[in-house]
């Protein structure tokens, strides 16, 4: 009996650790292979011809048409800068600067990777179509309620994520020192 209980313990730990760790590592890359800065995370090796095993597994699991290394980099945030999950009932301000890139898009998405912006409006922000403050920094609002400056009206309920896609970027090329320049996501108020 004792032996059986021990065996059961061993197997449950093995299965829990084995599959749990795999899920955890490949969901957001919180363990290996991915870059993380504040709320943003991205797989820097996903666009290379011979990615590391974790990135390779992520690419297979993600099943996305990912960007090549020369094309750009995609960063995803599902939490605000304080670590709370993004909620459509709240107003968020994306504040700060973005890494050097030819252009970027910032799209609010649901779990199916669809834009949750108001259907008859733009799907999100595009770097060529935003107003900046005098020092070049950005204040971008995502909310259901009217917001000042740059505003994308979102629809629906529940959690969402933000996808920042930097096209033709020098980020992670090892050139320059802009590695830490990513905007913060600030929760302002909730209804």
């Amino acid at each position: 009996m004792r032996f059986l209980l021990n065996l059961l313990l061993m197997l449950s730990i093995a299965l829990g650790v084995g599959f749990g760790l795999s899920y955890y590592a490949l969901s957001n890359g919180r363990l290996f292979g991915a870059f993380q800065s504040g709320p943003w995370s991205g797989w820097t090796q996903s666009g290379t011809a011979s990615p590391d095993p974790y990135t390779r597994a992520f690419v297979a699991r993600n099943a996305a048409l990912q960007l090549g290394k020369a094309e750009g980099l995609q960063l995803v945030a599902s939490n605000d800068s304080d670590g709370r999950p993004l909620d459509r009932a709240c107003r968020y301000r994306v504040d700060g600067r973005t890494p050097t890139a030819t252009f970027w898009t910032l799209i609010p998405i649901d779990a199916h990777w669809n834009s949750i912006a108001r259907p008859d409006g733009p799907p999100g922000f595009h770097s060529a179509r935003v107003a900046r403050s005098d020092d070049g920094s950005l204040q971008l609002y995502f909310s259901k309620t009217l917001s000042p400056l740059n505003w994308v009206e979102i629809a629906g309920d529940g959690a969402f994520s933000l996808v920042l896609t930097l096209y033709d970027t020098a980020f992670f090329s090892g050139v320059g020192t802009n590695e830490t320049i990513l905007p913060s996501i600030i929760r302002e108020s909730c209804r």
Partner: protein
Amino acid sequence: MIRTFLYAIAGLLLGLAIHLVVVLTLPMLADRTVFAEISALDAVNTTRLLSKPAPGAANTLKLDPDLSYAVCRLNLANGPGELSGTLPAAYWSVAVYDQTGAVLYSTTNRDGIGQTLDLGIFDPAQTRLLAEQKIDIASGLLIVEAHSDDVFVVVRLAPPHPSMRDRYEAQLQRLSCGNIQT
């Protein structure tokens, strides 16, 4: 007690082994892959536009709604692949993918290509023939070596404004894609 502890340690080690097996075999076991999605488009030797992600339907390829995408699948067993055409004077980029969805090669029009795309894709045997000058190609062809025969190419085009999207997509559709006759 010590025995239970040893069993727990053994479980942990076994768990790590399972984790490594999962990570290493996942690319082989995944069935809903990019390649399966692209194969369903029937884009062999033809340029097909990927439709803009519609509200409500799942955006399985995780496309950016601000960009236009064209895809073409090539089988290099029938000869080297070629994708050529003229694109609008906006940002565009091209990427060659293999069956696992890994990017073999990518570049953008900011790297001095200008508006003309002329990309040749060769498998290792064809690359050798190319080096021996046994395949005739036009000068100025951008040469990409692929390690497998079944590849697909994706061109991303960024219209500067949403109202230009239709016109830009029409030009994207005119890219010619096929095998070079040798």
